[in-house]
Symmetry: C2
Subunit: 792 residues, 2 copies
């Protein structure tokens, strides 16, 4: 917006807008340190908390903080969502006109497929901008409970769609970019918004076979914890200065995460140095209650809130703390000073967001609806979708040649998708462009028939008859189908990875017509598309995930070649038998007698499509132009590292400058290319992963015959393996650096000398045995929390 004094006057004259912010200029606090913008945030927060009565402090422990009217502190709602655009439950979209919509980006699983960190930062910057505009209108808060950065461990997970994928390096890199976009640069005097890394930790199941997320005990080895479940959270806390964490419903190795000082204090705050007290941990909604029931970690309700607060949960999504802290304090289970610490963390965070400061000096306070859903933001939403679409099969039909005589058949439950495009956690998008809408913008004849009912119940083929004449009239058939939040959602894990029988029947009948045919597989979790891959009558297969408000246009533009596809699968596409081979509750990554292993690193079966799969409308070659040594002495690497004064050894660079990889488009179609760099080899503790992603970079619009260069930063962390106690170690051995899935080029090198630990992992101590519930006579909760239902 263009700032004007008259506008400001209007803003200041609006009681509604003023109600958002504390009365620092003229209220009872105006002479307190909290209102002194030159004071340190921590000192300011402490001065405020010191003015609170115990009752007022206790009132401030829930997500809907009532404020303290006598001090001019307004209510504040901590629970705000922004997964891929502003979202509920408290984002207040107006019915029409200004603030009635915002920009809705693709789901993270689709944005993850773009493998483009700059894109992610740009998207997150739009989200934080729009959050600020809504906040200035008293329609949303200043902190967002995003990202969901648990790795997408099992394809059944109903919320895997909220994550960028299965690979911990990818997630760590993605989330770093995302937090920069949400929070802004650390040098800014004010944070744009506060991001919240969730769900810490080991959360990746909703409800599998009677194992509910809020009572599940995830049994995770220290090796898997460090190697797989925590890297993204380490990136948040240690490397990206995220403003908040959320502890999760489940317990880890016996202890509910919101009551676990090992996770919340030893690892998060001490080991990762997340000790800036302007940061806080919130519980997932009702997770503090769940510490009592059904976890039965604490023997009484009062003990549960005391345990959670003492462990380091600073905010309770819910009202359990406010209900039971009076009793807990009266019983001496927790000191008021612990409560003070939690509140100081909350309020210092709000200080850093400018909540207490005059709006005139804060650029973010000037944002308004003219900054929401701008043309640039809409274009970014389109670009995010287009970058995330993955081409999995193509016999040459695509890109589809268009001429006005073409009769295009568009079929399937997703062909005219509307809110399905958004996945979950969405607000009001600016528009919803379905594939059908996009096709109708082309100068061709479009024949549309849905052809099926819902994706959950295949028992209605009443729409099928309309499909056959439409198919008969079509020159080319595009079938857009898959899954929706009907089968993968919060509280709902999938039970099958298969296309349904009726879907396959319809695909088979359409393919049987012998016409050129494209299938677009939609939804966040992968389906087993081997029947499509193997059907010679189907020319092409695309995956589109949940592509957001402009997703239909992106899909049609890829099909017609307006955009050249370059996305890569951010997860493994397993065969459907996978769900029979491993329990969702099994957290181990490595194969065993009860599991074929998880992710591309460890799965010992044949993936239908591997992590990183993605074809183009052209071909590429690669060469590494940075000269690597044939051999490196580990001691030399560490010596260089220590000279760099880097606190964390795993962040030291491996090569002095980033590895230069030349990528040449050897075909004729201009195209993006995602450079994926893996390390493989026999080093460190057996078994060895097949390979591990260590760097990626998306290059843009490489013309036919042209070459662009990726600059890949490799670190000592790239080389390290994790031992069984969780230590990160550089081992001697033979290493191979591979560029791309079917390597376009590779380089071998050797590390020599003694192994060196670059990150020594703190071990848990203390009693991790639950106390059981004693407060309720006759109480009974069945004990199926930790393992799958055993049936013989």
């Amino acid at each position: 917006m263009v700032f004007s004094k008259s506008h400001l006057a209007l803003l200041l004259s609006s009681p509604g807008a003023l109600a958002l912010f504390p009365h620092c200029s003229n209220g009872p606090l105006k002479n307190e340190v909290i209102c002194d913008s030159s004071a340190a945030p921590l000192a300011r927060a402490k001065s405020l908390v010191a003015l609170y009565t115990l009752a007022e402090k206790i009132d401030a422990t829930g997500n809907t903080s009532p404020g303290v009217p006598r001090l001019g502190i307004p209510p504040y709602e901590w629970w705000n969502e922004g997964l891929h655009g502003l979202a509920g439950p408290f984002a207040n979209f107006s019915q029409e006109g200004e603030y009635s919509y915002s920009t809705s980006f693709p789901q993270p699983i689709t944005m993850g497929a773009a493998f483009d960190d700059d894109l992610i930062k740009a998207v997150a910057t739009v989200i934080s901008t729009e959050a600020r505009a809504f906040n200035n209108a008293n329609r949303s808060g200043l902190d967002l409970w995003t990202p969901n950065i648990n790795p997408f461990k099992d394809p059944r997970w109903g919320r895997g769609q909220e994550t960028p994928g299965e690979d911990p390096f990818h997630l760590s890199s993605y989330v770093h970019a995302l937090i920069q976009g949400l929070q802004g640069d650390s040098s800014d005097p004010y944070k744009r918004v506060v991001a919240t890394c969730k769900h810490y930790a080991g959360y990746d199941m909703e409800n599998w076979n009677g194992n509910f997320r809020y009572q599940f005990d995830a049994q995770i080895s220290q090796q898997d914890l460090v190697e797989y479940y925590l890297p993204s959270f380490q990136s948040c806390a240690r490397d990206s200065n995220v403003g908040a964490f959320m502890c999760s419903y489940n317990s880890v190795n016996g202890v509910p995460t919101c009551a676990d000082p090992y996770l919340l204090q030893t690892i998060l705050r001490e080991h990762w140095g997340w000790t800036n007290e302007e940061q806080w941990v919130t519980s997932d909604c009702d997770a503090v209650q769940n510490v009592f029931l059904p976890h039965e970690w604490s023997s009484t309700r009062e003990q549960a809130v005391a345990d959670s607060l003492i462990a380091g949960t600073d905010l309770d999504c819910g009202s359990y703390m406010s209900l039971h802290l009076p009793g807990a304090i009266a019983q001496g289970l927790v000191n008021e000073s612990v409560l003070d610490q939690a509140l100081v963390r909350q309020y210092s965070s709000l200080v850093r967001l400018g909540w207490f400061d005059a709006p005139e000096d804060q650029p973010y306070r000037q944002l308004d609806f003219s900054d929401v859903a701008t043309n640039a933001s809409q274009q970014l939403a389109y670009r995010a979708a287009a970058e995330g679409i993955v081409l999995l099969k193509n016999d040459g039909l695509l890109p589809l040649a268009l001429d006005s005589s073409l009769s295009l058949g568009l079929f399937g439950e997703w062909a005219n998708a509307s809110s399905e495009l958004l996945g979950n956690y969405y607000g009001v998008p600016t528009y919803l462009h379905s594939p059908l809408w996009a096709a109708e913008q082309l100068n061709v004849t479009v024949n549309y028939a849905r052809g099926m009912g819902s994706s959950t119940d295949p028992s209605t083929n009443f729409n099928w008859p309309a499909l056959w004449p439409a198919a008969a009239a079509s020159d080319v058939i595009v079938f857009i189908s898959g899954i929706t939040n009907d089968v993968e959602a919060e509280e709902k894990d999938r039970v099958s990875l298969s296309w349904t029988g009726p879907q396959m029947d319809m695909i088979g009948q359409l393919a049987g017509l012998g016409k050129p045919m494209v299938v677009v597989q939609m939804g966040g979790g992968q389906l087993d598309s081997s029947p499509i891959a193997n059907n010679p009558n189907i020319s092409a297969l695309l995956w589109g995930g949940y592509p957001g408000q402009d997703g239909g246009a992106a899909i049609i533009d890829v099909i017609t070649g307006k955009v050249a596809p370059a996305g890569r699968l951010p997860v493994t596409q397993y065969p459907s038998s996978y769900v029979q081979e491993v329990a969702m509750t099994d957290m181990a990554l490595r194969p065993s007698s009860r599991s074929p292993g998880r992710t591309y690193k460890w799965y010992n079966g044949s993936a239908v499509y591997e992590f990183g799969s993605g074809l183009h409308y052209t071909n590429f070659s690669a060469s590494v132009t940075t000269q690597l040594q044939a051999s490196y002495a580990i001691s030399d690497l560490l010596q260089t590292c220590k000279q760099s004064n880097e606190t964390y050894l795993d962040r030291c660079t491996f090569t002095a400058s980033p590895l230069q990889v030349n990528i040449t488009n050897t075909g004729t179609t201009t195209s993006d290319y995602v450079t994926l760099a893996y390390l493989a080899g026999t080093f460190g503790p057996a078994p060895y992963p097949k390979k591990s992603l260590v760097a990626y970079q998306r290059l843009f619009a490489i013309a036919g015959g042209a070459t662009d260069t990726a600059a890949l930063k490799l670190t000592l962390g790239s080389l390290a393996r994790v031992d069984e106690t969780g230590n990160k170690v550089i081992y001697p051995g033979d290493y191979s650096l591979l560029i791309d899935n079917q390597p376009l080029t590779s380089i071998n090198f050797t590390l020599t000398g003694e192994e060196v630990t670059v990150d020594e992992w703190p071990q848990p101590d203390g009693n991790r045995t639950k106390k059981g519930v004693t407060g309720f006579e006759g109480y009974f909760v069945p004990g199926y929390g930790s393992e799958q239902v055993a049936l013989q």
Copy 2:
């Protein structure tokens, strides 16, 4: 309504209304036999089908029959629902005014708890009356795809709520009354409506652990089939002359039921004598398609429709037959004569419904909206709810003494329930009376707070704070909660039998207040209420199921004693560990190494509350006044039977006249009493069931000190056991007749002599191995149909 000629003229002048019925009076058919109301239905139907072209016949195979305009045959929609009142998907309720609502009764699981066959017949009569009124207004059809009469085998089943319970005798008796009410007396010239017994057979799972209903192969022994899965269907076909059957999604012992001549021809039509050709079998929706995929029973689509039609599926819910019969006939896979037979069955059924006859002579054609939702029907809906409520625990608090100073606290997700009261398959009820509404009609102070979010996601306690002051202000606490169609529904089986942790937490906190407290457990499937049973601070526990449009009033009236409870649990309430002990896919009834057994007959654990449980506000004693012999010679029983000319020996009476049981109310409160008669003993093949229900009768309003008499009809079938090949046999041995669960009285007698088979069961023959799909290259469907996911 009062019939008037002017009304008739209006009706006849309405093109919309006329479009409902064939033009027999003045159309092209007026001189054909089909329009000759004096001719036999079968001859009439044959004459019509003979006029159809092959294409017209094929068009008539789907549920939405397009009719034959050139012959004056209008479209007819076969798919109409009436589970507990008129329901979708094709029932056309108007937006307001006439036909904008109808009577909505409780779900069958609640009506089953009434154990009152006369009630069921009365309810069904209202439903058929209302269906006729809607049909006359062109808003619904003449056949209803109800009842769902599969036994409620496993408490997890999402559609168990649609059935009267777990006991096969109970279901058989219930469904006989229901069909009488829906179809009318067999002596009527016209059927009221046609009922459809579904889902034949072995269908009782939606989606358990990746086992989907439409691909599941139920492995059922002949013994279990005859003893448990088929009695209710035998009652429909052999004993109640039901007009239609529906074959189910699943296969049984390898063969999809809709393509199984053993089930559809050998058992249904031949063994049960369902050979009147005015009856038809429809497929469940898309089940013919499922014969091809995912069952892979038939190798091509054309073979699947041919196999289904030949096996005896006369109607296809869907359009698969109409799509693929042309190919099937062209390939010589099925003769046109088989199609003719199916259509004759359809049209002769419509003849029996008066479809082709003049309206003037048909009372049912005179019904209109004045016959819908009458005061009597509303009262019946209330009575059905009140009769079905079951009192499981009472320390004397109930009935609750009311005076105007009472402050009543009403809490829980169900306290202000609206459409939750209806369960599933409902239309527009006349009204929805929640418990809160009913309490507000009392002259007391009512304090209401919901206290929880949805029953699926316990992660929101944001409504809790309102609960504590409301509870503090209350003298008595009523907590109404449980489950809804959020967790048990079509396509959704439950995974847990437990109250959720937050529900239990809230119950515990409320109970901890030490006030008089009542819990009302709602929903169709049972929860494990042992924590409530065992909590000394909770005075009373009721179960209400899905009590329909007036369910809230019925609940409150039972609590306050306006109605004395007399319902009985129609299912076993298992401990929550049950779901860990047996797979839903396991169809066996008897205990084994992989199952603790199913239903009150076989479960070898301790039920929380047994089948038949139900307390009263008084006590009863019983005495059998009919003199039984100490011993009977089996040969004598058979001799008497054969003299009676009864075709089916198991229907012969055991005692010459019904057994008279005097029931005396030994307390002071007037109350209904359900007389339950069980047989137990060591006779027939081991193992022996604990006991088996053989008769029941509800007695009404027995005053304190008064006696009423139940007349229980016992048959040779009551005495019979089923051997391993499926034969029903009378065995020598010691028999005990028990009146009530904790027997009020019992009688022992002995049968002597040689065992005699009273029903010889036909054995399956032929190849029951699926053919596999060959029509679609590269096709793949995972083979997890028949057994649970094996995980170690």
